[in-house]
Symmetry: C2
Subunit: 182 residues, 2 copies
């Protein structure tokens, strides 16, 4: 498979960004390649296109599968595995957010709860700080659960409301116990 200039540049960018995104270069490049490919690709094709070893491709695909970011496909009369990314970009975003939460937030929430369980430690400031952090994270994860429950169309509505969002909150003053009296 021969890459277009567009593909090459996009995929090199994803490779470079990989480390910032918590994946390695190869994983970033494999994902980028699949993302831009109209048809599913097999491991051999990916190996060629990126000039990496077959085993590296295997590991990258495994990693992407553990992130739930790629889908396995099969082609009639071909027993190799083919891979794609979902067509729907919103599905991709949902997956990304969910997986990052699972890896970057949830373990900390668990740890904070565990530390709170211990009870008095002789360090009231640290205890308060930990409790406050735990509450904040719980609020944010609940909000995420809520957004996740929404249909994509509703999500898009919410996100494109812009300036009007703040004003809209006034229309439902009774809904929220934290609401300041006016």
């Amino acid at each position: 498979m021969t890459l277009t200039e567009l593909q090459r540049e996009f995929l090199l960018h994803f490779g470079e960004m990989g480390s910032r995104w918590g994946i390695n270069r190869t994983v970033g490049q494999v994902y980028a390649l699949l993302f831009l490919s109209e048809t599913p690709l097999n491991a051999e094709t990916i190996t060629d296109a990126l000039s990496i070893s077959r085993s590296n491709t295997s590991m990258a695909l495994k990693e992407l599968q553990s992130w739930n970011l790629i889908r396995l496909r099969h082609v009639q009369g071909d027993r190799r595995d083919y891979f794609t990314t979902p067509d729907d970009l919103w599905e991709i975003v949902r997956t990304l957010v969910t997986e990052r939460r699972k890896r970057e937030i949830d373990p900390t929430l668990t740890k904070l709860r565990e530390l709170e369980m211990r009870g008095a430690t002789g360090d009231p400031y640290a205890e308060a700080r930990i409790a406050e952090l735990r509450e904040l994270i719980e609020m944010m994860t609940s909000f995420h659960d809520e957004m996740n429950r929404m249909e994509t169309e509703r999500l898009v509505e919410l996100m494109t409301m812009g300036r009007k969002l703040g004003g809209l909150l006034d229309k439902a003053p009774k809904l929220n116990p934290f609401r300041k009296a006016t």
Copy 2:
């Protein structure tokens, strides 16, 4: 400085999570230590508490400053630099989101726009995919700008609305051009 068991465990956790959060162990531990400390700490104290080299502390503090995550303080009659984290956890979250966006999203948005500028490439599918991705990222960054503009209290209102959020959207049907006809 001698650490409590609570501090030690919290800080070790932040050290371990560091790599998932895109910082290294030392940076994570230094941040955690400052986060739990009621009073500002100087580099010497941090070095002792974490049993690391003075230069490592210096680098970690520099890194945290580049993330805008710590504040420099001075103590009367002491010319050393002292550091703290903001008291307000919401301020911390805002900083984190803003900085991660700057590092993880903005460079890609720039690259996507650059690629689109190039015009026709003979790969319409990839072009469409890139355009769609760019639009999605723009929508999300605009939403982030909007949330950033809100006061914390409003943000908390929004986040604690739960189930009611979806319903609330119906109250402003004219605001959004993407809104489906009912």
